[in-house]
């Protein structure tokens, strides 16, 4: 009974923060109850009286999340603290997470549990024996994650991590009302259909097919990566990521050629042409022409990862309903579709993205209980309800997500046939140069320039990666 009241208090707090809609209140309370029910199994390993279930003590956990995400993650931890009596000390390290953890491990005082945003750190720490294998600790919870995700958390055949939060870079955001105005009734499911739809939108004359994010080149790299993955598959993608495949390979060249088609000659498919894309393509300004806060949209689509949702103004509602209008002040909508693969491609289910993986650095009853909790669907469920979150945990019901866009996103993630990490983030030492090279090819996709840039990229990769 005590647990229930404290949980309710937790919900009340979230209400005070104004982030939980009234309609979701009951659902969250129910979720928290379910979580507590499962908690009792985790922490007691058998039927025991309610009082003796408490482990107490404390545990430290680090992750990159700060501000809103930090509040959401604390809401995830609350039921765990309440039911086990364990005090969780959370530290949000921001974008500094990898460096901070590295230093803490070297200094001999790491947190008990840490979530890092890349699989490379997991491999490095596992090689140093700084993290503990999880298979025996997690037990049946390991089944909550698909093969693509388990593979990414495995080092030398042992499972070392739990992918708690995931991000999907496979998404294309579009304004349904603009699609409708251009006469497109269904979203493209193949690469050629996407190109055809671009022409249709351009023929309409009113909207530019694409508002391209260029920024310092990273959104172009994301676009290239999506295209490369869909054309060549995860195996080739991973070879390119480790530079065992050369940038001068025909697979890369053909991807650049397809990218040029998407962009159109001289940027014909882009809002404001190539100049406009370079001038106004800074993140997140590039999203405002598709989802303007006032007035009418000027472009139909924008390519970026699922975190784009947080840049869509709040008056936009998710989904592709019949009531969607072109006016930003009437009832505008936003929706996504999966970045399409060529029709009949075997790689349509391959997904590119990123995520946060939880690892166990010190083994105590408290830390073991915490990581097992993070692997449970109940923990992910709480954040799923709060929004701005996708889980790789396939036991989290899609109904937990607040809207259709988030549902589709989560479905794509959990059912991914293969999941690859954003390739540019793995290019330690030359990532900014890779971005500059992407901008170069974008502006001049002529075969001779592509050859020159590819040779340069091979040289840069060799210098940075040592092979």
């Amino acid at each position: 009974m005590k647990e229930i009241t404290t949980t309710k208090r937790g919900v009340m707090n979230k209400n005070l923060l104004g982030r939980v809609k009234a309609s979701r209140k009951a659902l969250i309370a129910a979720m928290a109850l379910t979580t507590i029910a499962s908690m009792s199994i985790i922490v007691s390993n058998g039927p025991a009286s309610a009082a003796s279930k408490k482990i107490r003590g404390s545990v430290s956990i680090w992750a990159e999340w700060t501000s809103t995400e930090q509040q959401d993650f604390k809401a995830v931890l609350q039921p765990f603290e309440d039911s086990t009596g364990i005090t969780v000390h959370y530290t949000g390290k921001g974008s500094n997470m990898d460096t901070a953890l590295d230093a803490a491990v070297a200094g001999g005082s790491p947190p008990a549990v840490a979530l890092v945003p890349d699989p490379g750190t997991l491999d490095t720490l596992a090689a140093k024996h700084a993290i503990k294998p999880l298979a025996s600790i997690l037990g049946t919870e390991t089944k909550n994650f698909g093969t693509a995700w388990s593979t990414l958390a495995t080092y030398k055949k042992k499972l070392y991590g739990v992918w708690f939060k995931a991000a999907n870079k496979n998404t294309v955001y579009y304004n349904p009302a603009v699609f409708k105005a251009a006469g497109i009734t269904s979203t493209p499911t193949s690469w050629s259909q996407l190109l055809t739809d671009e022409t249709t939108i351009a023929n309409g004359g009113t909207y530019a097919p694409v508002s391209l994010c260029t920024d310092i080149g990273w959104p172009v790299a994301d676009l290239f990566q999506n295209l490369f993955l869909k054309l060549n598959g995860a195996a080739a993608y991973n070879q390119l990521a480790t530079h065992t495949m050369k940038w001068s390979s025909p697979d890369v060249t053909s991807t650049f050629a397809e990218m040029a088609q998407l962009v159109g000659a001289g940027g014909a498919n882009l809002l404001g042409g190539m100049k406009g894309a370079l001038a106004d393509g800074s993140w997140p300004a590039c999203t405002t022409s598709v989802f303007p806060a006032s007035g009418s949209p000027t472009a139909a689509m924008v390519f970026e990862a699922d975190f784009l949702t947080s840049n869509v103004p709040s008056n936009y509602s998710p989904g592709n309903g019949s009531s969607c209008t072109l006016s930003a002040t009437a009832s505008p909508c936003y929706d996504t579709f999966n970045f399409p693969a060529p029709s009949g491609s075997a790689f349509a289910g391959d997904i590119q993205g990123s995520g946060d993986v939880a690892m166990l650095l010190t083994s105590t009853p408290q830390s073991k209980a915490l990581i097992k909790y993070l692997a449970s669907p109940g923990a992910a469920d709480i954040w799923a309800n709060l929004g701005g979150f996708a889980s790789a945990n396939n036991k989290v019901p899609l109904s937990s997500y607040p809207d259709t866009v988030a549902k589709a996103d989560a479905k794509a993630l959990t059912s991914a046939k293969a999941f690859v990490f954003s390739l540019d983030d793995l290019q330690v030492g030359w990532e900014p140069q890779l971005w500059a090279d992407m901008l170069n090819v974008l502006q001049n996709p002529a075969a001779s320039n592509v050859t020159t840039v590819e040779a340069l990229m091979d040289q840069q990769a060799t210098t940075a990666l040592g092979h």
Binding site: N203, S282, P432
Partner: protein, 475 residues
């Protein structure tokens, strides 16, 4: 500070009693300067040594790599670009800012309300560079509706070529031919001509696409009406052949399509010369009456599609490159990114006031007798300035110049805030490279430290020279 270093060697050999005596004499002064010394050691000396050390170590700062990071600095394209941009800044900015500062200082001596005028010129120094950069970013914006520079260019451009009723979007490289959809094709010199020939008594229908709904609305376009046969004449229709409800229908008129009004047409005979001209009505219909027998084509004149102005991409990655008689390396070395010029103009706006104040102070301290002597000898204003004022001001001018050289060697915030993402690379400088390599994305403390050391070495001579000059001025 001087007393400690001077006493240092003596202390080492001194007897214990003298040692104690020294401490007794100086402990009060030492106690007073100790906080300052500790502060300097902690925030200047230690970081400098640590930076030099980092520059000789690998990324994890654990493995000694010698001068490897320095080799990387000089072989990385993006850092070489930074060097080039720094050179451009140093060559252009200090000269112009000193020159403009001098001009303003000399001229404000001769006007009423000089103080108010000076206050306005000095004001930009008070603003944060970030704010100034954002203002100038807007001033140079590509869109003439936003950026005032392009708005001026547009006004001038429109005097010479007025955009047509259906201006092509030259930003996306649109051509008249790309508009042709049904029974239409690109003609000579930007015209669109009907594909099929027509005789008197016949009708012509031409469909165009890629016409924006805003244009149709402005022109009051009505529902298209199929042309009626006209004895001895040619009737026709030009319409926007795009229907949201039937996107694939490109051969017939659909109810939600529009006629294209205000199009200037001419009737061209088989030898290619124009025999009649007309303008389409609000439903896109037109007619030529009393046409002599023969075979004709309808031509939509190029003036209808005269492009609208597209702004100069001042903040873009393109460069002003000398083209003639140079090889590629020389060209890339001599090319000046347009954005560098835009940023230098903005930076002059920020710093001209500072130059003016220093030079103005120098002017006030000038020996008036010499100036009066020049005036009595009949020197013109210009001669006085060139032969008397500037030589006498030379010490002040060089201090301003060198201060500005130091200032732009470390130029940073204006670039970070003024250049759009896509131009950050082409516009980068050494200071910005330190930040990007050392603090964003993958952290490369080794390379960033190496650049910092190089920048330090570049700044030190100018700084020492300036210190000497200022000290010399005092004595």
């Amino acid at each position: 500070m001087t007393s400690i270093t001077a006493e240092g060697p003596r202390l080492a050999t001194a007897k214990a009693s003298r040692h104690r005596g020294w401490w007794r004499r100086n402990w009060v002064s030492l106690a007073f300067i100790a906080p300052g010394i500790i502060w300097l050691l902690a925030i200047v000396v230690y970081p400098t040594i640590a930076t030099i050390r980092f520059s000789l170590y690998d990324e994890s700062a654990t493995k000694f790599v010698g001068l490897h990071n320095y080799a990387s600095v000089f072989s990385t394209d993006s850092i070489l670009t930074a060097f080039k941009n720094n050179i451009i800044w140093v060559l252009v900015f200090p000269f112009f800012v000193t020159f403009i500062g001098l001009m303003v200082a000399v001229l404000t001596e001769r006007i009423r309300w000089a103080t108010a005028f000076k206050a306005i010129i000095v004001m930009p120094i008070v603003f944060s560079t970030t704010a100034s950069a954002l203002v100038w970013r807007t001033i140079f914006d590509l869109d003439p509706h936003v950026g005032v520079v392009n708005a001026i260019e547009q006004t001038v451009s429109d005097w010479f070529s007025t955009p047509g009723a259906y201006p092509l979007n030259s930003a996306i490289g649109q051509t008249a031919a790309s508009l042709a959809a049904f029974n239409a094709t690109g003609g000579t010199a930007g015209t669109v001509v009907s594909k099929s020939a027509v005789q008197p008594g016949g009708t012509v229908m031409m469909g165009l696409t890629r016409i924006s709904s805003a244009t149709l609305q402005t022109l009051g376009a009505q529902t298209p009406v199929a042309p009626q046969i006209m004895a001895g004449g040619i009737a026709g229709l030009v319409w926007n052949d795009f229907s949201p409800s039937q996107t694939s229908n490109t051969t017939t008129i659909v109810s939600d399509e529009h006629g294209l009004p205000n199009l200037r047409l001419s009737l061209v005979n088989s030898t290619g010369s124009s025999v009649a001209s007309t303008v389409t009505n609000s439903s896109g219909d037109f007619s030529f009456s009393h046409v002599a027998p023969g075979s004709y084509h309808v031509e939509i004149l190029a003036s209808n599609f005269q492009t609208s102005f597209v702004g100069t991409f001042w903040l873009g990655p393109q460069s002003i490159t000398p083209t003639s008689g140079l090889n590629q390396t020389a060209q890339s070395l001599l090319s000046v990114p347009l954005i560098d010029l835009a940023m230098i103009i903005s930076y002059i706006w920020i710093w001209a006031g500072f130059a003016m104040v220093l030079i103005g102070a120098g002017l006030a301290a000038l020996n008036r007798e010499v100036l009066e002597a020049a005036e009595i000898d009949g020197a013109t204003e210009w001669q006085t300035l060139r032969r008397v004022t500037i030589p006498m001001l030379a010490p002040v001018l060089t201090v301003v110049f060198v201060t500005m050289v130091i200032n732009v060697l470390k130029v940073f915030d204006i670039i970070l805030n003024m250049a759009p993402g896509s131009s950050q690379g082409p516009a980068t400088t050494l200071a910005l490279s330190i930040y990007n390599d050392g603090f964003t994305g993958g952290i490369h403390s080794g390379i960033a430290s190496a650049i910092a050391v190089i920048l330090f070495i570049l700044v030190v001579p100018a700084m020492l020279w300036n210190l000497k000059k200022i000290k010399g001025g005092n004595s």
